[in-house]
Amino acid sequence: MSEYVVVTGASRGLGLAICRDILDSGMSVVALSRTYSTELQKLVASKPELCHFVEADLADLEHIPALCKSIVKTFGRPYGLVNNAAVGHDGVLATMPNGVIDSLMRLNVQSPMLLSKYLLRSMLLNRKGRVINISSIIAKTGFNGLSVYAASKAALEGFSKSLAREVGKAGITVNCVAPGYMQTDMTGDLQGEKLASIKRRSPLGKLASVEDAAAMVSFLLSDKGSAITGTVMTVDAGSTA
């Protein structure tokens, strides 16, 4: 198999777009997801040599070491990891169930940390690699009803900066991509006047698409991104300008 990238949350939305873009660049993909969506099945069928699906529930932290071991055993040392899987439960903090806070932090923060920990090891031996964590502009701007989600994304940004310092000597870059509001299943509830207002206030008069954000991920994965590490690349059609 050619050099491959592990992409989490690959069944739909941004994860699926990232898989498509990586495959278009000629690299292989190991797509992790809880569900094997029809769209992902089609993508795998279109490039069966390059795209492989692995079923995984990443909120199940106990199984992440064994999952990583099995990925490396099956596909060899990974070139890159894109931590995209996340949940975005919204609701005011005062009434958010504690179990929801716990599960969000597990999937959005601890799971990327553990995947990075175990998949980085192969990259260390290869003396090259890429870790890309999908953040959100919410990490810095804040948004009513998304305090826990925002905290999880801010945590990923802090994690990425320090990890970049830790593994830079081994030729591995670690970055975040922070998309703005995109029309995906995760932001499906954001509609009507709120959505229109975000579009209106964006300098480009539109939302960034999942393809726009995926293109940034591909750039960071490419040789052209080799001098970029420890930073956050914002793709939001200018919303935070």
Binding site: P65, K69, V72, L120, R121, S122, L124, L125, R127, E166, V167, K169, A170
Partner: protein, 86 residues
């Protein structure tokens, strides 16, 4: 090759890979931090041994205190291999 020799050889491979200079003689009571490998070098050593031996004893045995000496490090791997055999 016994486990001690395997670890010593892996240390030397990793030192080369990470541009570290190992001390000449590694004794059982040599402190890991004074063997010439830096912390990233140790991460690479654990990765290298995982590829060779198929175990990561620190995760599998849930070891929370990192061994201080070479002998303690080797003992962790011996224990990990024993558990794998059982």
């Amino acid at each position: 090759m016994n486990i001690e020799q395997t670890v010593k050889r892996a240390m030397s491979d990793v030192a080369q890979l990470s541009d570290c200079q190992l001390i000449e003689t590694i004794e059982p009571d040599t402190l890991l931090l004074q063997s010439g490998l830096d912390s990233l070098g140790y991460a690479m050593l654990v990765a290298q041994l995982e590829e060779e031996l198929g175990i990561d004893p620190f995760t599998e045995l849930a070891i929370t205190v990192y061994p201080a000496t070479f002998a303690e490090f080797v003992a962790v791997y011996a224990q990990g291999l024993e558990q794998k055999r059982d």
